[in-house]
C-alpha cells in the first residue's frame, strides 16, 4: 500500500505557493488560486507598491492588486501569466478540530518552508474581535503571511495571517471564496481611489480622490466623476481608509449617501448612490 506522507502534500502545495515581494525584499507569501494568474494573499502583505510575485520555478512577475478586504486582511493580486497550477480550496465550514494541517510559506526568507500541526480551535480569538479564525498549532513566522493552510489531502482550508498565543491563525477559505466570487473586476461602488489630504470647512481631513470611474458601475450611475474627492459616508467624515470599505461591505441593496468635493473645495456636496443593484436593472 502506498502511503502518502506530508512530503507529497507539501511538494504539491509548494508549487502553488508564491513569494510576494517589494523590489528584492520578501514581504510574505501568496496562493495561486487560478491558472490565469490570480494570487490570494493578506491585505497587509499587499499594502505596498510596486509588488512582485516569485513562483516556485524561479520566475518573477509584477503584480497588480485587484481586490482588497482590509476587514478580513485578504487581497487578490493578478500576475500577467497563464498555465499556473492552482490549489484546490476546501469548504472551510467542514474543517474539524483535531484534523492534521500543513502550512507552507516563506518565513525568514526560507522559500517553501513547511510546518505541520493540528487544528487547535475554530472560532473567535479573545481580543481579536468577532471574526472566525482557524487556529492551528503550526509554527508560523513573519513571511508565512498570505500562504496556504491545508488539510491532510492538500486542500487549502485557510490563509495564514497572524500568530497569536503560540497558534497560527488563518482566515477560513470560505471567506477567500467570497472575496473571489465578488465582482472584483470592479468594486461594489465602481471607483478606483487614492487617499488625499483635503481641507473641508477649514480643517484638514482624509479624502479619497477618484482616479477612475468604472463604466457601468454604481458610482458612474450616480454621476460621480474622476477628480471628485469623497470625504464622508452617510454624514460621517472618513477617518480611516477602512471607513468606505466598511460601509460598502455591509452588502445588500441599499442607498449610500456620499459626501464629496468637486472643483470648489468650500462646497460640500452629497450624492445618493444605489448599491447592490444588478447591472441589467440599470437602464
Amino acid at each position: 500500500m502506498r502511503v502518502e506522507g506530508f512530503g507529497q502534500v507539501a511538494d504539491q502545495l509548494r508549487r502553488s505557493t508564491v513569494q510576494v515581494g517589494l523590489g528584492g525584499r520578501g514581504l510574505g507569501s501568496g496562493i495561486i488560486v487560478d491558472q490565469d494568474g490570480a494570487i490570494v494573499t493578506n491585505a497587509h502583505v499587499a499594502g505596498h507598491a510596486p509588488l512582485s510575485v516569485h513562483l516556485w520555478d524561479g520566475s518573477s512577475f509584477p503584480a497588480r492588486v485587484q481586490a482588497r478586504s482590509t476587514r478580513r486582511d485578504l487581497a487578490v493580486l493578478r500576475i500577467p501569466t497563464t498555465h499556473l497550477t492552482p490549489v484546490t480550496m476546501a469548504n472551510s465550514d467542514d474543517v474539524r478540530v483535531g484534523e492534521l494541517v500543513i502550512a507552507v510559506g516563506n518565513p525568514f526568507g526560507f522559500v517553501g518552508a513547511v510546518t505541520t500541526g493540528i487544528v487547535h480551535a475554530i472560532g473567535r480569538r479573545p481580543g481579536l474581535g468577532p471574526t472566525r479564525w482557524i487556529q492551528a498549532d503550526v509554527q508560523l513566522a513573519p513571511g508565512n503571511s498570505g500562504g496556504p493552510l491545508a488539510d491532510a489531502r492538500g486542500r487549502v482550508i485557510g490563509v495564514n495571517t497572524l500568530v497569536a498565543g503560540g497558534l497560527g491563525l488563518a482566515v477560513p477559505a470560505n471567506a477567500v471564496a467570497r472575496l473571489l466570487a465578488g465582482d472584483f473586476a470592479q468594486a461594489p461602488l465602481g471607483v478606483v481611489v487614492q487617499p488625499a489630504s483635503v481641507r473641508v470647512e477649514g480643517a484638514e481631513r482624509l479624502g479619497l480622490a477618484i482616479i477612475e470611474v468604472v463604466e457601468g458601475g454604481a458610482a458612474e450611475f450616480a454621476s460621480l466623476r474622476a477628480g471628485d474627492v469623497l470625504v464622508g459616508v452617510d454624514g460621517r467624515p472618513l477617518r480611516t481608509l477602512d471607513d468606505l470599505e466598511g460601509a460598502l461591505e455591509s452588502g445588500g441593496e441599499r442607498v449610500l449617501r456620499l459626501q464629496f468635493l468637486r472643483d470648489d473645495p468650500s462646497r460640500l456636496r452629497t450624492v445618493s448612490v444605489r448599491l447592490g443593484v444588478p447591472q441589467a436593472a440599470v437602464a
Binding site: 502518502e4 478540530v97 483535531g98 498565543g165
Partner: protein, 301 residues
C-alpha cells in the same frame, strides 16, 4: 482510497468530536479559563493550580451555556480538584483504569475555551514514570510526560490516546519542563478521597528536620549502618513526635524499619495510609541509641 495521513486526520477529528461532550471550560481565575473533564456523573476533574477562588466558580458546558459549579474538594499535592456541576449528560467515557500508556504513542490534549469551543493539541507520550512524588508533596501512581503544547487554557483538559482511551488530566502545574498527564489511576484514588473527605489526608509527625553526618566513631560504637541521620531541629507542640517523647537534637536513623538518610526518606510518612499507625523510631540521643513509638497523625488543615 484515503491516504494514511487523511485517515489519521479523520481519526483525530473523530476523537475530538467524541470526547468534547465531556470537556468543559472552568472559570476560577482571572484572564484564562482552564479546562475540566466530567469524570463521573456530575463530577468534573480539573487542575487544582488553576483554581484561584473557591466560591462563584462557573463552567462553560459543551452547549456553550454557563453553569455554576461547587468545589467538592481539592488536593494541591496531586494538582487535582473536583467540581460538582449540574446540566451535563452522563459521561460517555468512564475514567476507568487504563493499562499503562507507552512512550511514543500519540496523545491528544483536549480542552475547551468559551470563545471557540473545543480545542486540541497533538503530541506523543514522551515518557511514563514509576511511582512519583510531586514537588507539591503529593503522590502519583506514575506520571505521563507529554510533548504536546499546553496552552494556558489546556490544564485540566482530557489526555486521550489514539485508541480512544482517556489516559488522564493534562497539567502544566507539576513540571517546569513539560506538560504532564495525571494518570487515570491517580485521579480515581484522589477523587475517592476528595469525595469522601473533601481533602486528601496527609500523614504527619510534627518535626522540623535537617540531615546530619554521623561521625565514624559513633557509627562504629552504636553501631548503625547509616552515613547520615535526620536531626530534629524543631518539635511541634502537641504533635505526634512530642507526644512520643521526641526531643530537640534527636537524630533519627530509622523509622518503621525504613532507614532515614535523606529528607526524602521521610516523605512516605505523609501518605494517608499510615495515619493512625504506630511506628518505631530509632534515634541517637546523647551518644546512645534509643527507640520511641510514634503514632502518625493527620496534618492539620
Amino acid at each position: 482510497m484515503q491516504s494514511a495521513l487523511a485517515s489519521l486526520s479523520n481519526d483525530l477529528a473523530k476523537l475530538v468530536e467524541e470526547f468534547q461532550a465531556d470537556v468543559v471550560a472552568v472559570h476560577a481565575r482571572p484572564h484564562y479559563p482552564s479546562s475540566g473533564v466530567q469524570w463521573r456523573p456530575g463530577i468534573i476533574v480539573t487542575a487544582d493550580h488553576t483554581l484561584r477562588q473557591e466560591e462563584d466558580i462557573q463552567v462553560t458546558l459543551p452547549s456553550g451555556k454557563r453553569a455554576s459549579a461547587t468545589l467538592a474538594g481539592r488536593d494541591a499535592g496531586t494538582d487535582i480538584a473536583l467540581l460538582k456541576v449540574e446540566g451535563l449528560a452522563p459521561p460517555a467515557q468512564r475514567g476507568g483504569e487504563a493499562e499503562p500508556a507507552q512512550a511514543g504513542e500519540l496523545a491528544l490534549v483536549l480542552g475547551r475555551s468559551p470563545d471557540s469551543g473545543p480545542n486540541a493539541s497533538l503530541g506523543v507520550i514522551s515518557a511514563v514514570s514509576g511511582p512519583w512524588r510531586t514537588w507539591r508533596g503529593g503522590r502519583l501512581e506514575h506520571y505521563i510526560r507529554l510533548d504536546a503544547t499546553l496552552f494556558p487554557n489546556s490544564s485540566g483538559g482530557a489526555v486521550i490516546d489514539c485508541r480512544g482511551r482517556l489516559l488522564g488530566i493534562a497539567t502544566s502545574g507539576l513540571s517546569r519542563i513539560a506538560g504532564l498527564a495525571i494518570p487515570a489511576s491517580s485521579v480515581n484514588r484522589v477523587a475517592d478521597a476528595l469525595l469522601e473527605k473533601g481533602r486528601v489526608p496527609r500523614g504527619y509527625l510534627g518535626i522540623g528536620v535537617q540531615p546530619v553526618l554521623i561521625p565514624d566513631a559513633l557509627r562504629t560504637k552504636l553501631p548503625v549502618p547509616n552515613q547520615n541521620g535526620i536531626m530534629v531541629v524543631s518539635v511541634e507542640a502537641a504533635g505526634p513526635a512530642e507526644r512520643a517523647g521526641v526531643l530537640l537534637g534527636d537524630v533519627f536513623v530509622s523509622l518503621a524499619d525504613t532507614s532515614l538518610e535523606h529528607i526524602e526518606d521521610l516523605q512516605s510518612f505523609s501518605d494517608s495510609g499510615v495515619i493512625g499507625k504506630q511506628v518505631t523510631a530509632k534515634i541517637i540521643r546523647a551518644g546512645a541509641l534509643r527507640e520511641l513509638a510514634i503514632t502518625v497523625g493527620e496534618r492539620p488543615r
